[in-house]
């Protein structure tokens, strides 16, 4: 309280102490806050610059929301008023910045924004510095408002950079002109893309070249401050060049400059050079130039004493890796891994795994690398890495034999890591037969090798090994007896761990009871895994955080990989398709060729594939179409069906008994669809009640294109079923067949009718014939929200009548179904029971079938 009193005194000392006290000890005590705000307001209004300065300082230090509310309007005025002193302008700009950072919504964009941009031209460099900071932050949120600042910033920057050292006097720092201001202006320019105006762009390029040139000149002073300041400007300029990514010669020059820094005496500069080069490596223009420095970087990796610099070197190697230098880089990273710090090992492991996979031309090299990885840093090899190697080995036939042999040899080492045992166990279980011919790796030898490690492993590994043993029983009947003995031993059958005990018991039983055929089917080779995004990449991104170098360069790398014409995806899918995979057919229903309908849609696709016949005329309804159908009962637009190849969207409008539906077929792939034929199928009953008329569609659909089909609909009489849309086309070499239900339902021809309460009840009594009423009590499928329910009823087509039902929680609706032959009046009443989460729906119409159908349709919606 005393402090607040001090604030209002006229004496500077007391005011100062008061403000200091407030800034340090503010809390949300509302009484004091109001008084404080009042005091600040008075000070701001007084034209005394010292007092205004103090007040602004306090606001900036505290920056709470109440202060922002009070002052966010005032401060911009102070900022742009003509008669405020320079020092006050500075403070006001930064204060506004602080308020904006804490409460961006409370700072209104007014006409002061253009005046703030003009501050960039001010005489007083302090004001310019403050204004630039402010504009940089504001421009990130509203780039449009501050576009004019770009040209002003460029001209200011060029004036500074080309000025002689005597011009700026006090703002020259150890012979570098206004370094802080230059850095801030360069930051501001990074908020915008390269300027379109050629004059401005030319000036900017000149400016950047000057900065780069200055770096080459001999230093004007021996002091480290001079070089630091000069290099600060240089690094910021390089960031700008990288951000713009448009001038190749600037990029190359920047790259060369950074290359020089890589070998500088000062550690700071080496660190920053490595960091900047990481971002440079992802730009297409300079990627080549960056690669030339690979030797230096590798050297740095080996000889640097500072661990953070070594870490940066690893990052840079990862960034600059591509097809040509992948083996070398991976080898270097592996050798570094042996001596790396524990804190960064996991990251390096992930990176090596990703690089090895991405750039593996020969998959034997990949297998070797991963096994080496496990050998060197087994503890840090996370699950994703060895899952991935197993996936790849299984998907690729050619490398299976090699993998089995290598793993076998690796396991013979006396001390091998548990992850290696896991991988080895799995691979030998699947592909041990490929090396069983060689007497050194005969089945018994393999088994003994694995079993020798058995007792050294943890529970999950042991479980995996047990599975491997039963696979051996299938593959090598000669070791069956040995394995059965092992399984029968007490340490398995009475093992403390439930999983192991269960596995041992079941496998033992299986091996004794099952005949060879069943055993063979149960223990079939694993089918190839579907291609999925690498979970390792996801893990790496999670570790490094979003928006870092890895994310950025992966996005650019995706571009690059396609440009390099990556052969990996093609052979992967080819081999996946060509493997006959009788094992995909779990129920052994005969050797059907792989399901032709492309990769199955997400929900429950596998079952459909097993039962479907490839060349049938009409494929069964695509799974998931039921859900979409229900959604379309109450709405007219949206996506009806989507799978990996095709997307079907709908837009429909209905009037009385007529309707028109636009069906959009989108080709999601990059290959053409040929013989594209959609047909509408209606059962006989349906055909008499509903008339559909369509126009033919172009049979060729280009990749990425969308074609439209118009369907004219007329409702002759009420109908129960929905028509089916069947689409057949050829994609690549395969024949595709998709069917979905078209959501043309009776309620589409429902016209809402407003009526008063008395009319409603009158009609309700009129329709009291038992056949005319249908009632349904059902459990709510969706959360019972009033607004949503109302919206659904209106979407259904009925008019929602307010204040008709004495119970306000109930919903009442009325409307007329229009058909060519008849008009049928309908009344509905929906009573929700929130406690039981159930509804009671009553429908009364003049025709029984209509009541039935509408009740059915509407019950699904809730």
């Amino acid at each position: 309280m005393e402090a607040v009193n001090l604030l209002s005194s006229n004496r500077y000392t007391e005011k100062q102490i008061g403000y200091l006290f407030i800034s340090v000890l503010v809390n949300s005590n509302s009484e004091l806050i109001r008084l404080i705000n009042n005091a600040i307001k008075n000070d701001l209004a007084s034209r005394n610059p010292t007092f205004m300065g103090l007040a602004l300082h306090c606001i900036a230090s505290v920056g709470s929301r109440e202060m922002a509310e009070a002052f966010a309007g005032e401060i911009p005025k102070v900022l742009v008023a003509g008669d405020t002193m320079d020092s006050v302008k500075q403070s006001a700009a930064l204060c506004l910045l602080r308020l904006y950072r804490t409460s961006p919504d409370l700072v209104p964009m007014g006409d002061w924004t253009s005046r703030v941009v003009h501050l960039l031209n001010d005489q007083h460099l302090g004001v310019v510095t403050a204004a630039t900071s402010l504009i940089t932050t504001l421009a990130q949120k509203n780039p449009e408002e501050f576009k004019t600042s770009v040209s002003l910033a460029v001209s200011r920057l060029s004036r500074i950079v080309t000025s002689a050292s005597t011009d700026l006097q006090d703002y020259t720092y150890y012979f570098v002109p206004a370094p802080w201001l230059s850095v801030k202006l360069l930051r501001l320019l990074q908020c915008y893309p390269p300027p379109e105006d050629p004059a401005v762009r030319g000036r900017l390029t000149e400016c950047l070249e000057t900065i780069l040139n200055k770096a080459q000149e001999p230093p004007k002073s021996k002091k480290v401050q001079h070089s630091n300041a000069k290099n600060a400007v240089l690094f910021e300029a390089i960031s700008l060049i990288i951000h713009h990514d448009s001038e190749p010669n600037l990029l190359v020059r920047a790259c060369n400059q950074l290359g020089q820094f890589l070998q500088h005496r000062e550690t700071n500069l080496r660190y920053l050079a490595l960091e900047s080069m990481c971002t440079l490596a992802s730009s297409e223009f300079s990627h080549e130039a960056v690669k030339t420095h690979i030797e230096t970087v590798i050297n740095a990796l080996k000889t640097e004493r500072d661990v953070s610099v070594r870490q940066r070197a690893v990052d840079l190697l990862y960034a600059m890796c591509d097809r040509s230098n992948a083996p070398q880089i991976v080898a270097e990273m592996l050798s570094y891994l042996e001596t790396a710090d524990y804190s960064i090992r996991e990251e390096i492991v992930l990176k090596v795994a990703i690089l090895a996979e991405k750039y593996a031309v020969d998959y034997t090299w990949y297998v070797d690398t991963i096994l080496n990885l496990i050998r060197i840093a087994g503890d840090y090899v996370s699950e994703e890495v060895w899952y991935r190697v197993i996936q790849i080995v299984i998907n690729r036939d050619d490398v299976q034999g090699y993998a089995a042999k290598t793993v076998f040899e690796a396991l013979q080492a006396p001390a091998c890591h548990e992850n290696l045992v896991k991988v080895g166990g799995y691979i030998l279980g699947e592909f041990g037969n490929l090396i069983a011919g060689d007497p050194r790796s005969s089945p018994l030898v393999q088994f003994n090798l694995l079993h020798s490690k058995f007792h050294l492993c943890s529970v999950p590994t042991r479980a995996l090994l047990l599975s491997t043993y039963i696979k051996f029983v299938n593959l090598f009947p000669e070791v069956k007896a040995t394995i059965q003995d092992v399984l029968r031993s007490d340490s398995q059958l009475r093992n403390a761990d439930v999983e192991l005990q269960q596995r041992a018991v079941e496998y033992l039983r299986l091996s004794t009871v099952a005949s060879t055929d069943i055993l063979a089917t149960v223990l079939e080779e694993m089918p190839p895994f579907p291609e999925r995004a690498s979970s390792i990449l996801a893990k790496l991104k999670k570790k490094k955080g979003p928006g870092t170098v890895t994310g950025l360069e992966d996005a650019k790398r995706e571009r690059g990989v396609d440009v390099n014409g990556g052969p990996e995806p093609a052979p992967a899918s080819a081999s996946a398709a060509s493997t006959p995979s009788p094992s995909a057919d779990l129920l052994g229903l005969g050797a059907t060729p792989p399901a032709p309908a492309g990769p199955p849609p997400s929900s429950g696709g596998l079952l459909v594939d097993v039962f479907s016949d490839s060349a049938s005329a009409v494929a069964p309804l695509a799974p998931g179409s039921e859900d979409n159908f229900a959604r379309f009962v109450c709405k007219n637009n949206g996506v009806l069906f989507e799978n990996q190849l095709l997307q079907i969207g709908l837009k429909s409008e209905f009037r009385q008994n007529l309707g028109r539906m636009f069906i959009f077929y989108g080709n999601k792939t990059s290959t053409q669809f040929l013989n594209f034929t959609p047909t509408l199928i209606c059962s006989d009953d349906l055909q008499s009640n509903l008339t559909l008329q369509t126009k033919p569609v172009d049979p060729t659909v280009d990749g990425g294109a969308q074609v439209q089909q118009v369907v004219n609909i007329e409702c002759v009489s009420d109908f129960m079923e929905a028509p089916v849309l069947n689409i057949q086309f050829r994609y690549g070499g395969t024949f595709q067949n998709v069917s979905v239900q078209l959501p043309i339902t009776l309620n589409k021809f429902f016209q809402p009718t407003e009526m008063a309460s008395q009319d409603f009840f009158q009609r309700w009594k009129q329709l009291s014939n038992p056949q005319q009423e249908v009632q349904n009590i059902f459990k709510a499928k969706h959360p019972m929200d009033t607004e949503i329910t109302k919206a659904k009823i209106i979407g259904f087509g009925s008019a929602l009548l307010e204040e008709v039902d004495p119970n306000p929680a109930n919903f009442v609706g009325a409307g007329i179904i229009h058909s060519k032959t008849t008009q049928i009046g309908c009344l509905l009443r929906l009573e929700p029971n929130l406690q039981a989460q159930m509804y009671r729906l009553t429908l009364r119409t003049s025709k029984e079938s209509v009541s039935q159908r509408l009740c059915e349709l509407l019950s699904e919606q809730f």
Binding site: Y12, T13, R98, Y171, Y173, N228, S239, N268
Partner: protein
């Protein structure tokens, strides 16, 4: 800038300025952690390190460590220079500053820092204008103190 710390080789905190509202407990925790990391660094190591999700720029002057925590996109070298500029200001003001000056006149150190940086950004980089502002403030203080004493005694 998120915050700035000054601490001695023995781990005593001399000055702390926070530009982002954090609770007291959080602050203490961060200070402790950061001090441990920085004090463990060897002299030849580079001045930048990554800590949590921030970059930390530090420099040692005699027995004091000056530490600044900046955001990911800020320029590290310029922050290093900022630290140096602040030290120069202190030097000019106190005349060959040492740790004792900062201990005994910590409020002046805070005032100088406030004139130089506001809300985490550099306000004015000109040494002269910052020092002039501080001198003016000092003059005001000196003017007022004898007068206020005389007033209280009823003699002015």
């Amino acid at each position: 800038m998120r915050f700035m710390l000054l601490f001695s080789r023995q781990g005593k905190l001399r000055l702390q300025k926070w530009y982002l509202a954090t609770s007291d407990k959080e602050r203490k925790k961060m200070v402790r952690e950061l001090m441990q990391v920085v004090l463990a660094r060897k002299p030849k190591m580079c001045s930048f390190l990554e800590w949590r999700d921030l970059k930390v720029v530090y420099k040692r002057y005699a027995s004091l460590y000056f530490c600044c925590a900046i955001e990911g996109q800020d320029n590290e070298l310029i922050t290093l220079e900022l630290i140096h500029r602040y030290v120069e200001l202190l030097d000019k003001y106190f005349g060959s500053v040492c740790e004792l000056d900062i201990i005994f006149n910590f409020e002046k150190a805070y005032f100088i820092l406030d004139e130089f940086l506001m809300g985490g950004d550099v306000q004015d980089t000109s040494k002269k204008s910052v020092l002039k502002a501080i001198e003016q403030a000092d003059l005001l203080q000196e003017d007022e103190s004898p007068r206020s004493v005389l007033e209280e005694m009823g003699l002015a």
